[in-house]
Amino acid sequence: MTTISLPIPKRPVHPTGVWSWITTVDHKRIGILYGVTAFIMFLTGGFEAMYIRAQLAQPGQDLVSPEVYNQLFTMHGTTMIFLAIMPMGAAFFNYIIPLQIGARDVAFPRLNAFSYWTFLAGALMLNLSWVLGGAPNAGWFGYAPLTSSVFNPGHGIDFWILSLQILGIASLAAAFNFVVTIINMRAPGMLLMRMPLFTWMTFITSLLLILAFPVITVALIQLLFDRQFETNFFVPAAGASPVLWQHLFWIFGHPEVYILILPAMGIVSEIIPTFSKKPMFGYPVVVLSGVIIAFMGWMVWSHHMFTVGLGPVANSVFALTTMAIAVPTGVKIFNWIATMWRGSIEFKTAMLFAVGFIWLFIIGGLSGVMHSSAASDAQQQDTYFVVAHLHYVLFGGSIMALLAGIYYWFPKITGRLMNETVGKINFWLVFIAMNITFFPMHFTGLNGMPRRIYTYDSDMGWDLWNAVSSAGAFMLGAGILLFLYNAITSARSGEVASADPWDGRTLEWSISSPPPEYNFEQIPIVQGRDPFWAQKYGGVAMVPVAGGSGEDAVHHSIHLPQPSYWPFVASIGIFIGSFGVLYINAASWIGVAVAGIGALITMIAIYAWSLEPVNDPDDGAAH
């Protein structure tokens, strides 16, 4: 307890270079780090998908062994959900939210850096399993007792458990940060019901994360204890319920579904009004339906378990709640359509992706409503029909919206526009390929093709549509590579973007592209919804907060949070410690020692962090 006298190294001062990124607490830089990392993981998960589709292209192939196939689909699902879609959402939260609410940073800049580095640690941990004894192989939901050490020896599942725990820490830290930021850091006049819809959906998503992640944390602790310390949580021979894991997982897992889609809905709700030159139709209803989705998302989890045998009462109740939750989702779709109705629509690439999102999400939503009937679901459970559904909502929904968001905010982030011609080719390629890939899965699914089989006989009648799906998948891969090409070339030599290339409505378009480090020279005073639009066309000035000219603000009174080593160090401690836990039952004392060293590093970092002032007192004038 004598850590008070810890020698605290000098604050890092690296304006450029690798260290400036490692020690950064700037929400914009962290957003870029999140985005780039998530896109790399997206490509990794996509590569796994290509492998799967190559194996299934024809009956009776043996490109991969059944064991590796199990690892491929598990890693594909886990990677896409936890390492691609969620952090890509986090990238937008980081970059865009402070700009939209008129803040200079998030509420806890160092905690924000900690979230990113911890996320990276989790991503590395999960993927290291490929080279350290085999990847996890029990599906992204890792049903126990299938994941217990009796049925699943080896370290794959341990890697899965620990990396999800690490990612949970990262997600929770980020969610706390964004809840506080959105509640407390809004510019004067930015009332809750004036917030941009992307900010609203981020707020709701963060609340869901805060409440949903602890459930999976506990389930993973129980599974970890079963595997490492021989407890009995998921041991049916000791009287344990084999359904407990499924309940805990889906109590987390269904809110998680909305964690994946709500940010996408927020992005689309920004893009459609902008390119329709109309305010969002029924703004309060869109907000409210988001809140209702988040609330009802807690009451539908057992629709993932209709075939478990919970009985007719439970199945009926969950069927009804599932049908009901389609209502607020449908409301949003009508709001988007009504926003476009009689607008002067401009089909820029971002808008194309956003409209594509609506189209594909409706298809995914409809097959979702089909699943909500428990009797019908019994036919569809664990078939490719479900694979079709979930890819329509996660690819057609989340990924399309995230790509739309990249096209939309790219000029704000890089200062250059993405190429529109390549962008339109990109959209049509992705949109068509997406349908070629996933639509036939409805047919193979209803023809009885089960999920997660590594191959099939040619007399099952699944040959044609599997071949079509695989062809589509490779087209889709090409589409994503085209996107990557467009992003890289545009970032280097694209057309230079103005501050407001789309004639935007929200505060982020009122500052230069890319924004200065301090975002706003003067904090604006918001007078209504769509404040920037009102300023441009309604003559409603965003009166800046009194206090000095812009010049003054830049040089004297803006105190940005300073860089810090400690978030990075704390994450390293977590990474090292988790490796210790991983090997506790294999090499007992080494595992314990390594876990202890990791915990110690994290502990020291947290002490140093809490004793380190946000700003050094001798940095510039007191404010």
């Binding site: 307890m1 008070i4 200079r104 706390f176 506080v180 602790i221 000791a238 009287g239 344990a240 109590i251």
Partner: protein, 205 residues
């Protein structure tokens, strides 16, 4: 940034709601922790009476002993309040007395828990024995881990005061620790009721 600096010094700060950022963060964390303990307690309740072999709760629990440790933990909440009040008055020596008392009461509670765990192991109940053992040790152990972190936090604040780190304007530092401490205390009341009292209640097992 100015707001964040103000937060560090516990001064008045300008946020959209007037609530302090860190205090809001602590409430959000406690909301999350509610779900954490909620899930653990739910698992315990679901598996209550499902163990296929002993020892069972009624064989190992000693309500009088656990009542004493519960009383100790409850009293620590009171001394926590007194520590906070002392710091706000600017009475540093009184602050030290109460903050260290709180930590010592917490350590005493942990001592009881260690003693109890050892006792249970002697009676043949380990996390490996049956469902009761797995759920009981995981739930109370993770609660104990929360108490341990709290004790480290309280001791840090106490020692920090000798370095001149605790002044009345830093009351937020103690306020945050107190929120956490009271929460952990309330969770124990639920655990004591659901696990211990219901555990020896005839008809439940």
């Amino acid at each position: 940034m100015a707001e964040a600096t103000a937060a560090i010094h516990g001064e008045h700060e300008e946020t959209s709601t007037g609530l302090n950022n860190r205090k809001l963060l602590m409430w959000a964390f406690l909301g999350s922790d509610c779900m954490f303990f909620g899930t653990l307690i739910a698992t315990y309740v679901v598996y209550q009476g499902k163990s296929i072999k002993g020892p069972y709760p009624i064989d190992v629990f000693s309500i009088p002993v656990t009542s004493v440790s519960t009383f100790v933990l409850l009293m620590s909440s009171m001394s926590m309040v007194l520590a906070y009040a002392a710091l706000r008055r600017g009475n540093l020596s009184s602050f030290r007395i109460w903050i260290f008392s709180t930590a010592i009461l917490g350590i005493t509670f942990l001592g009881f828990q260690v003693f109890e765990f050892r006792d249970f192991v002697h009676e043949g109940l380990t996390p490996k024995t049956n469902l009761f053992g797995s759920t009981f040790f995981t739930l109370t152990g993770l609660h104990g881990a929360h108490v341990t972190l709290g004790v480290i936090w309280l001791l840090s604040l106490g020692f920090h005061s000798f370095k001149g780190g605790m002044t009345p304007d830093k009351h937020l530092e103690v306020d945050l620790a107190a929120l956490y401490w009271h929460f952990v205390d309330v969770v124990w009341i639920i655990i004591f009721t659901v696990v211990y009292l219901f555990g020896v209640f005839p008809g439940i097992n």
